[in-house]
Symmetry: C2
């Protein structure tokens, strides 16, 4: 026996109807004091803990169905909640409670020569549409960040998570209600039909932003079909350029091994994991054998251009010849392509062609470092640090709803502030325009 709710006998609302409710809820949520939003979020965390058994039972049914449908192990792993993971989700809600509320912040304030007091005030975006795949933890993460920043949100999770999401969203709604927040502030599109996702993408009169979280295909689908503004991200090729100045001694070579290893191996499925290592002939000669041995020992397949292939062969280190499409490619796996460049200029050209997400340089030369920082136009530029630091928590934002690789609105990790906009407030005493 389970407590998963039966399909309701009533008509499923259209996405437009949901969005109208979300808009109304957003109007209320946008003006609530921080303490009331925090109280509701604390109640969400408490409810997740109190109803752990119910959540895990629903999730187990999702997992069972996913196995029956033959989904791969990686997907099933992302879908699966355990008591420990669920506690982590609740703890993340508690953490968001502690973050500052961006709403109401006065961004600028001036008095004009005619006496008008002109200010810009930070306000919620309004209604967010978030589209994601198997992970039920995203449901809670996103709902929490939306509520804290005063936004209503319509969640469209993968069909694998329907049962988990139904329970989670019901519990969130109940907790919001207890503290006077409109439960319609957090809604889920329960019917996983793609037509409903398409409907969401085109509600530009009601929804203020679409945030897709998933692979390149999902992002492309959103960009191609949405009339609502889309924030794309989370997809991109990550480069690291190893300047020879960094590997002039044992300590430098050891540090390069650690940094490149961490960038590639620490979590290869993440969007900020390294894809392509750029080397000069000299930096390759000085450091590549050591770097490559370390990577191969960690299970990395190296796809090497002719010069680095030859070098690795001569050291008896396993590698395969790189194909053309191994460059400008996001692997999301234990694979790394190696590319030789003449120097910084060629590295910059290569990154300009293929990069936009996270790009790093290892160098001891401050001029090279500054040239790299100036000229690489990516969401995050790293000097002598792992590419894995391009992450909301690591950069000090406390949490992130997504990592944007576009330039409009938000770039890099998006946290609470990126879920807001501003409005101009003008106060006068009868001024007219001459």
């Amino acid at each position: 026996m389970t407590t998963v709710p039966e399909a309701a006998p009533t008509r499923v609302p259209t996405v437009r109807e949901q969005a109208v409710e979300a808009r109304r809820a957003g109007r209320v949520l946008g003006t609530l004091p921080t303490e009331q939003k925090n109280a509701a979020l604390r109640a969400v965390a408490a409810s997740l803990r109190r109803h752990a058994a119910e959540i895990l039972t629903a999730n187990a049914l999702d997992v069972e169905a996913a196995r029956a449908a033959g989904l791969n192990d990686a997907l099933i792993d992302r879908l699966t909640l355990t008591p420990q993971r669920l506690e982590g989700v609740a703890a993340d809600v508690d953490k968001v409670v502690t973050l500052p509320d961006p709403v109401g912040e006065v961004v600028s304030e001036v008095t004009r020569p005619n006496g008008l007091k002109v200010s810009r005030r930070r306000v919620p975006l309004g209604v967010l549409g978030v589209i994601y795949e198997a992970r039920p933890n995203v449901t809670v993460d996103v709902a929490t960040l939306a509520v804290k920043s005063g936004n209503a949100v319509i969640l469209r999770g993968g069909k694998e998570t329907v049962r988990s999401n139904a329970v989670l969203v019901r519990l969130i709604g109940e907790a919001l209600s207890q503290h006077g927040l409109p439960p319609a502030a957090v809604q889920v599109i329960s019917d996983p039909d793609r037509a409903r996702m398409l409907e969401l993408l085109r509600l530009d009169d009601l929804v203020d932003a679409i945030i897709p979280r998933g692979g390149a295909g999902l992002h492309r689908f959103c960009v191609e079909n949405a009339t609502v503004p889309v924030i794309v991200g989370g997809v991109g090729v990550v480069h690291l350029y190893l300047d020879e100045s960094y590997v002039q001694d044992e300590a430098g070579i050891e540090s390069a091994c650690e940094l490149i290893g961490n960038s590639k191996v620490q979590r290869p499925s993440a969007c900020n994991a390294l894809d392509t290592l750029l080397l000069t002939p000299t930096s390759a000669r000085l450091a590549l054998p050591d770097v490559a041995r370390r990577l191969v020992a960690a299970g990395v397949e190296l796809r090497a251009d002719p010069l680095t292939y030859e070098l690795l062969q001569s050291h008896g280190i396993a590698a395969v010849p790189a194909q053309e499409d191994d460059f400008g490619r996001e692997f999301l796996a234990l694979t790394l392509s190696l590319k030789t460049v003449a120097g910084l200029g060629e590295a910059l050209d290569f990154i300009a062609l293929h990069g936009n997400h996270t790009d790093a340089i290892l160098t001891r030369d401050p001029v090279q470092a500054e040239l790299f920082v100036q000229n690489v136009d990516s969401a995050a530029v790293m000097v002598n640090a792992s590419t894995r630091f391009n992450d909301g928590a690591q950069l000090g934002l406390g949490a992130e709803v997504a990592v944007s690789t576009q330039k409009l609105h938000a770039r890099g990790p998006m946290a609470l502030t990126e879920l807001t906009t501003t409005k101009w407030v003008v106060r006068g005493e009868g001024q007219v325009r001459g």
Copy 2:
């Protein structure tokens, strides 16, 4: 005899080819010092003045062709350059030189517990696509703001301005070259075929933002067809709510007449001109006869709901009964709709339904004012000031490239800062993620 250039015998480049050049130019422009950009802009202004005869000759041919094609007077007026208008355009370029350069600004800077130095640096968006209609002054305005903010721009003007734009863009390119800036930073799509506009809208691998400047139809076309992010704006219904506290005495009524008159009449074709006046039965009784007489004297047609219609009739003031679609409608002309509401709450609901651009309240009650400011979610909210102040120059931004009514990235007048984004810069000493 004219100096308008003949059609070149060479193949017209595709928009993609233009965008590749723009991207390359943008990479150069993005790292140039402010003084070099300013020198180039000063040269642009000087060149416009020096070549006034050539520009005006080309423009006269555009105007002649427009007349022959039967374009309406308003459009022809917007198309027409005069010596005085051209001097105004050059003076605006000089003004942009004096504005602060947003590029390079450090937006935030922290040192993380692990010693990483994390900052965000303001950088240009990259490549802009700006689509507009008849006005050749926009060509220079937009090019100037783009160059100052380090962006390349692809301009797609109306077909009416082809000859004017060809000369203007050539002169701009020459001035940029003189100061070492890539002339491809400012390009025009010379072939006015709609297919080329469509090509521009879908170059999301090369173009960072589309800014349409025109009517609702153009904005809709961009939103429906673009895969490049679009900043929509310049279109919206403007409301003013007249609270009874404002019109308790002669001075208040006189001020209401002035503010409402200015909002409606000062430039009725502007997007921030008043469309709908909201009144309570009491504020209507106290002030509407005076307000209406003033408006009618200025040539305004009043479209009144039943209560205000009856009131105006009883005072012998001309009005027509409002139709349903006179509310939530942008007139861009000397027409104003009048709507009675029970009080602030109903006014807020009405504005939530129809507003998003500029909405004003006239009140002497600070509580009402604050409630209005809190609850109206529009690009600009005005208290006791003309709606016409929602304008880049009026709000102190110095210049504007467009007025955004969307929430992502920029809201309200967009000036130089809104043509930039940020990138994260992380400096370490070998840190890896644990």
